[in-house]
């Protein structure tokens, strides 16, 4: 190992793991700071454990929000590490473990399309990214090659939902019964469906095994079939000999020289001793998660940066967003009393409908919002998806069943198991100035570091998109021959909201957006801060628009692009 740390990477999830992998495999010496502990998917992931083996049959609690076996250490609430919000409630999901949220990750990895980077040009709304699809496409290819992905044949691609080329993608699993009904109904509606690009192996890759179609990916994957940052990025990075890792290190401040234009290192809290420590390097890369990146910059105040580091534009913390989500619970009578059969599959949707309305068709439809939404069968609600559990299976089966007990109850369970399930839409969000985070003037975490205060307000455009999503789901249910038993949107609508609580889809991005103009953006197109030459951000913070595609793949592609830029500059002695 080289003597000197060249780059400090804060955070080991999708963005940080990818950054460490790209740098170390190119011979750059990296120090990785991880706030949590080592996490070994091989031994730490719960694979075949049944709900009956867990306390409360695995039901989610404030300690383990998504159930006892979820591979996430942290969640929406962490003792001693609060956050606050004004107006609409925002919930902030966090992970404290090597690999970050990639263990709990749903593994859906659609690419952003050409229009998604040029929303302003195409629609006159929001703003454009400082690069185009053509600029990022090679990085999508490279990321998908490393992590492994299944998806449809590339020829199936629809407008603005590009697919990985066939030499990269692996064969997708067949649809489940409910998904076949879903596909047939959408076909009737003139909406195309296909396999969902997903970072799960269906053939072995680089010593990782193929999926065996059992146990939920959010429990982590001990065979390496489902992508995670430890398996695909950090372990190979460690093998180069160029990676040092410090765990239990909560970064809270970027150190700079007197000019404030050069980062010199990072201050962190050693959570095991409670001590505050400092590390130094030529380059600092932030990838602790989008909201945390803004928090660290805003908390890095100095004489030369009184409003926080890299914040001369005043844009740090601004324009945050999360995915718009709505679902229906439906009953498909055709599946009543269906004979036992195995529908676990890869635990994620096997098929989906990418957004289909563009140009004239969109105008004709009156879909008056920028980005659209995708449609899927919800693999976490009802159906036969994974071992039955109270929250995922029985909540929907008992919905509205007043006073049901005894023989009737037993018959009810036999009849409706598998025929009650969820269909869902995940939509873009029209990024707006009323969604941002600032630093709470009063509240501090247990180490005395000021915490973020979230401000959230959906825009009118989001309401219109939400109504459209809801309308389509009802049409879909009808075409599936299904009865709607619960509409989550009704409840939110009553409360004057689109979703009851923002942040719950865990796709929160933005806060340090990139752009062409240093006065209106925090980063340039390589995720380098305008103000601090050797400071980069490699998590979800650089996002400019929020479309219906899950953000993780794009986080990784941008992280890799930033890493290439760092490598080039290190080679040219520019850093």
């Amino acid at each position: 190992m080289a003597d000197e740390t060249e780059v400090i990477v804060v955070g080991s999830g999708a963005g940080g793991g990818m950054m460490a992998h790209t740098l170390t495999t190119s011979g750059v010496n990296v120090l990785l700071l991880e706030a949590g502990r080592r996490y070994e998917p091989e031994s730490d992931a719960a694979m075949f454990q049944l709900p009956k083996e867990a306390p409360l049959r695995g039901e989610g609690t404030p300690d383990k929000n998504d159930g006892y076996f979820d591979a996430n250490i942290g969640g929406f609430e962490m003792p001693g590490q609060p956050y606050t919000y004004e107006n609409e409630q925002f919930r902030w999901w966090r992970s404290r473990q090597l690999g970050g949220r990639t263990h709990h990750f749903g593994r859906q990895t659609p690419r952003y399309g050409p229009e998604d980077f040029k929303v302003q040009t195409m629609t006159g709304r929001e703003v454009d990214w400082p690069f185009s699809y053509d600029d990022i496409e090679p990085f999508y290819d490279r990321v998908e090659t490393i992590m492994g992905i299944f998806g449809p044949n590339a020829d199936e691609a629809v407008y603005n939902s590009p697919l990985p080329p066939n030499h990269i993608r692996q064969k997708p699993p067949a649809p489940r019964a409910s998904e076949m009904i879903f596909q047939k109904a959408l076909k009737k509606m003139g909406i195309k469906t296909m396999a969902h690009p997903t970072a799960i192996l269906t053939s072995p890759l680089n010593g990782r095994q193929a999926c065996f179609y059992a146990t939920n990916c959010i429990r982590g994957c001990s065979i390496g079939a489902a992508f995670d940052s430890v398996t695909a990025y950090i372990k190979p990075a460690e093998q180069t000999g160029n990676l040092n890792i410090i765990t239990h290190a909560v970064a809270y401040e970027i150190l700079t020289d007197e000019s404030g234009e050069k980062a010199t290192g990072v201050r962190y809290i050693d959570t095991q001793s409670g001590e505050k420590k400092e590390v130094f390097a030529k380059v600092v890369v932030l990838a602790p998660g989008a909201m945390e990146s803004s928090r660290i910059l805003l908390n890095s105040k100095s004489a030369s940066a009184p409003n926080g580091l890299a914040n001369s534009s005043g844009m740090v913390g601004k324009y945050i967003s999360d995915t718009l989500f709505t679902s229906l619970w439906i009953h498909i009578p055709e599946l009543d009393y269906a004979p036992a059969h195995n529908e676990d599959g890869v635990s994620q949707p096997h098929v989906y409908a990418p957004w289909w309305l563009h140009g004239d068709a969109k105008e004709k439809d009156g879909a008056d919002f920028s980005s659209g939404y995708k449609i899927e069968v919800d693999p976490y609600r009802g159906g036969r998806f994974g071992p039955p559990s109270p929250n995922a299976t029985f909540r929907i089966m008992l919905h509205g069943q007043k006073g049901l007990y005894g023989k009737k109850l037993k018959d009810h369970m036999r009849r409706y198991y598998g025929s009650l399930l969820g269909i869902r839409t995940l939509g873009g969000m029209s990024v707006n100035e009323n969604c941002y985070l600032s630093i709470d003037p009063d509240v501090k975490d247990k180490w005395g570091v000021p915490v973020p205060r979230f401000h959230w307000q959906w825009s009118d455009e989001d309401y219109r998109r939400g109504e459209h999503m809801n309308k389509t789901l009802h049409e879909l249910a009808k075409n599936m021959g299904a009865n709607v038993i619960f509409d989550a949107f009704d409840k939110s609508r009553e409360a004057g909201k689109i979703m009851e609580i923002a942040g719950e889809v865990n796709h929160e991005i933005g806060g340090c957006r990139m752009g062409d103009d240093p006065t209106t953006s925090v980063l340039n197109e390589f995720s380098q801060t305008w103000d601090v030459d050797n400071l980069y951000i490699a998590d979800g913070a650089p996002f400019v628009t929020h479309v219906e595609k899950n953000p993780t793949l794009t986080i990784m592609a941008m992280s890799m692009r930033a890493a290439d830029n760092i490598i080039e500059r290190l080679k040219g002695n520019d850093l």
């Binding site: 409360l56 250490i73 003792p79 076949m180 179609y213 059969h341 036969r384 039955p388 109270p390």
Partner: protein
């Protein structure tokens, strides 16, 4: 949080629970566990050992509560020719685990269920029995059916409605996650397979997609 604050918070919580349950001193004599149930309970924390799952709290229901629940469990899930009853699978033990857990949903369920049991005892008292489980089978079935029908007709009180809903949810959750319960409804997964080829022929036929 200091130890003192913690105790205060717990005391406040117990007092609140007692208020919800309409608890009187006499009531507490019947249910001595309820007053101290929450004091020493500890959750499993955010970083659990998934390979060695442990219930970190004590079960707190008393013998009479468990006896009554066992009767009710079998009314909710009776045995038939396909699968056993709730008590044959000891699901009441799981209900005890559930309502004793130091988490908000479960704490609320504890108040709901102990209150509901007390209401049933009151009805048993009118028939000269001390507890619901002291009644004969016909009396138990009649009282429980009356409750269920009132919930169905929406004539039940809010507390009774919740009592029925939550009891059914917890018993169903406990029962249909056992091997016997999963087999009853036809869960056939959690086994490694080489390829996933979609539904078998009989299911394709059922949904009309060959």
């Amino acid at each position: 949080m200091s130890k003192k604050q913690k105790m205060t918070a717990n005391r406040r919580r117990v007092l609140k629970l007692m208020a919800i349950a309409g608890t009187s001193a006499a009531y507490l004599q019947n249910y001595p566990n309820m007053a101290n149930a929450q004091v020493s309970q500890k959750g499993y924390g955010q970083d659990v050992d998934v390979n060695n799952p442990v219930v970190t709290w004590d079960k707190t229901l008393d013998a009479n509560q468990l006896k009554s629940l066992s009767v009710i469990g079998d009314l909710i899930i009776p045995a038939d020719d396909k699968s056993p009853s709730a008590s044959q699978l000891n699901i009441t033990d799981f209900v005890d685990e559930w309502v004793s857990a130091p988490y908000p949903t479960q704490e609320k369920d504890r108040a709901t269920i102990t209150y509901g049991l007390e209401r049933l005892n009151t009805q048993a008292n009118a028939l000269d029995a001390r507890y619901f489980h002291d009644l004969n089978g016909d009396q138990q079935a009649a009282i429980f059916d009356k409750l269920a029908v009132s919930v169905e007709n929406e004539t039940a009180s809010e507390e009774e409605d919740l009592f029925m809903d939550r009891l059914v949810y917890i018993y169903v959750g406990g029962y249909y996650t056992t091997d016997e319960g999963m087999e009853d409804i036809g869960y056939a997964g959690n086994v490694p397979i080489e390829t996933f080829d979609g539904p078998p022929a009989e299911i394709r036929k059922l949904i009309g997609i060959e």
